[in-house]
């Protein structure tokens, strides 16, 4: 494609428009990226936190029911006490198990998954400790074995409580981690936008300078040539600076100057010849 002034202008302005479009696209990307990160923060962090709290509630409820069962197994009898308290406690433990498994599935990092996996494992230990305590209490609630089993059960319940608290912390951390992601993305987007804008400004300035030079230098040269010719100086060289419309104009002007020179030369010769004949 010929580098005409028209093409230079079209490409120059297209380049500037492209740069502006890039900056706009990066801005839009940054906004959507931040929005996405914010949604992630709310969704995952909030859900993990809520799950950990729910686990705590189920754990407390299970402990309350087991405590009542162990207190009243002797007076109500194993079957009645089981029906009143233990079945519900089993339901609470199953809920803890299910919630912790779901949390493992959605936790964003390995260390967070590990924390919730600990709750799943601890729920298993809790179930075994409860089964042993129930068995010993149903046999003889006042026996040494029942006391030891109850202590083991209490310890398992406390550990499950501690693990659930860790899970709660993990939920909060997930929110904070997402907040850090938002900060990082926003900082990166701002830096990128500033960088691209700076490069765009630099390219725009260079393009404007080159474009103005490409037009002004040959035009100024033609102006000087025209001024010389108009004052009678035909010994000026017309330079073709570029292969564009101004270059074509320089060629036309050069042809015109050549023709004027020739006609003047011919006229001078005729004049000299007439002078010689006159003498």
């Amino acid at each position: 494609m010929k580098a005409t002034i028209r093409n230079k202008l079209v490409w120059g302005f297209s380049g500037v428009l492209l740069l502006l479009a890039s900056v706009a696209a990066i801005g839009i990307y940054a906004v959507f990226s931040l929005r996405h990160s914010a949604q992630d923060a709310t969704r995952i962090g909030g859900r993990l936190n809520a799950m950990a709290l729910e686990i705590q509630v189920h754990n407390l409820e299970a402990q309350r029911r087991v405590k009542n069962y162990l207190l009243q197994v002797k007076s109500l009898g194993p079957e009645k006490a089981r029906e009143l308290y233990l079945d519900e406690a089993d339901f609470e433990i199953a809920a803890i198990d299910s919630l912790a498994s779901k949390a493992v599935a959605i936790a964003p990092t390995a260390d967070k998954r590990e924390k919730f996996q600990k709750i799943v494992d601890r729920a298993g230990v809790y179930k075994l400790a409860l089964a042993a305590a129930v068995k010993a209490a149903e046999k003889d609630p006042d026996s040494q074995e029942a006391t030891v089993s109850k202590a083991a059960y209490d310890q398992a319940a406390d550990q499950l409580h501690d693990n659930a608290e860790d899970g709660e912390m993990v939920g909060r951390e997930a929110s904070q981690a997402s907040q850090i992601d938002i900060d990082v993305t926003s900082r990166r987007s701002v830096a990128l936008t500033i960088g691209i804008s700076f490069v765009g400004m630099l390219l725009g300035a260079t393009m404007s300078y080159k474009l103005s030079r490409a037009i002004l230098v040959p035009v100024e040269h033609l102006k000087d040539v025209a001024e010389n010719v108009s004052l009678g100086n035909l010994e000026v060289a017309v330079r073709r600076y570029s292969d564009d419309e101004i270059g074509d104009l320089a060629d036309s002007f050069s042809r015109m100057v050549t023709a004027v020179k020739f006609f003047r030369m011919e006229a001078e010769e005729v004049h000299a010849h007439d002078g010689v004949e006159g003498q």
């Binding site: 060629d251 015109m256 023709a259």
Partner: protein, 72 residues
């Protein structure tokens, strides 16, 4: 297209409105009638056109014109 017309066509971009008169002048030096220009006249005409054009424009362009006329 006669040889003369071809020479005029090629020279027009260099000499503009002075083309016909310029060629006539060079032909006069070679004692040729311009409309009767023949292919055999071209090397001599090209040489003189190069010399004559050198007085009117820069040497490079004059030699360019001379070469174009010679190659017709």
């Amino acid at each position: 297209m006669t040889i003369y017309e071809e020479v005029v066509f090629v020279s027009k971009t260099y000499l503009g409105p002075a083309t016909e008169q310029f060629i006539a002048r060079q032909c006069k030096l070679l004692k040729i009638n311009p409309p009767q220009l023949a292919k055999t006249d071209l090397p001599g005409l090209a040489k003189w056109m190069g010399v004559g054009a050198g007085l009117l424009m820069d040497e490079k362009k004059a030699q360019e014109l001379s070469a174009k006329v010679k190659s017709l």
